[in-house]
């Protein structure tokens, strides 16, 4: 008998914790969406599952602390369980200097040519004294400064100034592209969300 325990229900995936032969395994299962026609639904779930697993493997093999995809099926990724706390739950309990490590974590990811696109404390797990990055559901292969800057921005909005100053120090240390990315971040923040979005009103 295997025991399934649903530990999370996000906007597109359920997360199950399952014990297989004494080892805890996480299963990320992309649900069927009842509002999509079957063709789009299946295509998206298969495509996104495959892509997430591929990027997660690349991140892992590039030295990013993250889970390893063990088995990938059409709609599910089986990965190792990282037993710890989501960073958003313990944000104010950890020392400010620890945020340097999170900066380094992001630098390692960017160096591997990956942007996360959902780089928030909810997607970082603190296990012991080490931080692990999870949820590559929106990640893309990219070395674009703008996309990298968005990762910084998301984190900046979720933590306080002191925490961010350590975070950015960790990110920038011996990082050849940190200046370009920080400059781009400043531009994005000035711009707000504004862009021209109309064909006919020009």
């Amino acid at each position: 008998m295997v025991k399934f325990l649903k530990i999370s229900e996000g906007s597109e995936a359920n997360i199950y914790l399952q014990n297989i032969l004494g080892t805890n395994i996480i299963i990320k299962y992309r649900r069927k969406k009842n509002y999509l026609i079957k063709e789009i639904d299946e295509d998206l779930r298969k495509h996104r599952t495959k892509k997430e697993a591929k990027i997660m493997s690349l991140a892992y093999s590039s030295g990013v602390d993250c889970p390893i995809p063990l088995i990938v099926s059409d709609y599910s990724i089986y990965m190792n369980y990282i037993k710890g706390n989501n960073l958003n739950k313990v944000l104010d309990k950890i020392k400010d200097v620890k945020f340097m490590q999170i900066g380094k974590l992001l630098y390692t990811l960017h160096k591997a040519g990956i942007v996360h696109n959902d780089f928030t404390p909810a997607n970082i797990i603190l296990k012991g004294t080490k931080f692990y990055l999870i949820d590559f559901g929106l990640a893309e292969l990219s070395s674009n400064a703008e996309e990298r800057a968005i990762d910084l921005l998301l984190m900046k909005r979720s933590i306080n100034k002191r925490q961010y100053s350590h975070f950015i120090k960790g990110y920038s240390e011996s990082n050849p592209f940190s200046k370009e990315v920080n400059d781009r971040l400043a531009i994005i923040e000035k711009r707000g969300r504004y862009q021209d979005r109309s064909l006919s009103l020009k």
Partner: protein, 324 residues
């Protein structure tokens, strides 16, 4: 009692509200088929009709013009010359009747009237019009305003559908015709582009237009519509999860689409979220929504100096402080 004038695009609308009750919602529409959307021509049409429509609104509300307490008009976003007509008419009435005048953001008006009719307190909103497509909700930081959680990074979904309709030589060339043609169509794979809560439509449009030579129009129309609305629904679903809001309203011109409504209905049902879409007279451009927001401003005691009373063709919804 507040009168509101809407003139941002091809509709000239005049509405009257009294304590949230809609007493009149009169309108006249410029016929795009005549000579397309030439701004100066549409503005002329509005100028010729605005006082007639004001009178017919007063008539259907069964009130006298001097019973009014304030005048609202659409400040933007919209087409400059068209917005100008509404602004001038509102200024004139305000001057003549010595009434306060209220500049209203068009997108906020669409959302506020839907929220008002739904009786919702703090909904997430999917606002879909010709030039815009956004997922929004009220945020109190730093000041009370509509925060954009996600939006189109290129063109509005309405423009996208209209452009496809034109390329496919559908008449009239707009979204409801695409919907009709889509009936019975079969799915062809299309590029699907959602990034978090943002989305883009040009790739989809280009692909659909390219397929016109080699495929049935109904199949393309169906696939285009399914893909675009699925993208909007997914982005909205994400924003609902992120914000934890428990109500959703759908507003704006494209809210008249039955397929988009049914997708959002299915999505919200699966999460136990309340969903509301308004009667089509409020999804189409209308004066009642402008009057409603102007009344909310009036009730809040807000006043607007001359420097705030212009028009702004690109009036961003997240730049507006919500004073009510």
């Amino acid at each position: 009692m507040i009168l509101g004038i809407e003139s941002s695009a091809h509709t000239l609308g005049v509405g009257i509200v009294d304590n949230g009750k809609i007493l009149a919602n009169s309108k006249r529409m410029y016929d795009i088929k005549e000579s397309g959307m030439i701004p100066a021509k549409v503005a002329d049409f509005h100028a010729e009709n605005v006082y007639d429509v004001i009178e017919s609104a007063l008539e259907s509300a069964k009130i006298n013009i001097d019973e009014l307490d304030g005048i609202g008009y659409t400040k933007g976003p919209g087409i400059g010359p068209c917005l100008h007509v509404g602004q001038l008419a509102a200024s004139y009435l305000s001057y003549k009747l010595k009434l306060p005048i209220y500049p209203v953001n068009h997108a906020i008006a669409h959302i506020e009237i839907t929220k008002h009719l739904a009786g919702f307190k703090d909904p997430l909103a999917l606002y879909v019009s010709g030039g815009n497509s956004q997922v929004l909700g009220i945020s109190n930081i730093p000041k009370k305003h509509y925060q954009v959680y996600g939006e189109t990074l290129d063109i509005g979904v309405g423009n996208m559908l209209d452009n496809f309709a034109r390329a496919a030589k559908l008449v009239p060339a707009w979204g409801s015709t695409v919907a009709k043609v889509a009936e019975g169509g079969r799915y062809i794979k299309m590029p699907y582009s959602v990034k978090g809560m943002d989305f883009t439509f040009t790739g989809l449009l280009t692909n659909a237009v390219r397929l016109l030579d080699s495929n049935k129009v109904s199949d393309i129309a169906f696939s285009l519509q399914e893909t675009a609305f699925s993208m909007l629904t997914e982005a909205t679903e994400r924003a609902l999860m992120l914000t934890g809001k428990t109500e959703l309203v759908l507003s704006g011109g494209v809210a008249q689409s039955n397929r988009l409504r049914s997708m959002l209905m299915d999505m919200t049902k699966s999460h136990g979220i309340k969903f509301y879409d308004a009667d089509n007279q409020f999804n189409a451009d209308n004066g009642a929504m402008i009057a409603l927001v102007a009344e909310e401003m009036y009730n809040s005691g807000a006043t607007f100096g001359k420097d705030k009373l212009g028009i702004n063709q690109r009036y961003r919804i997240d730049k507006v402080e919500v004073l009510w």
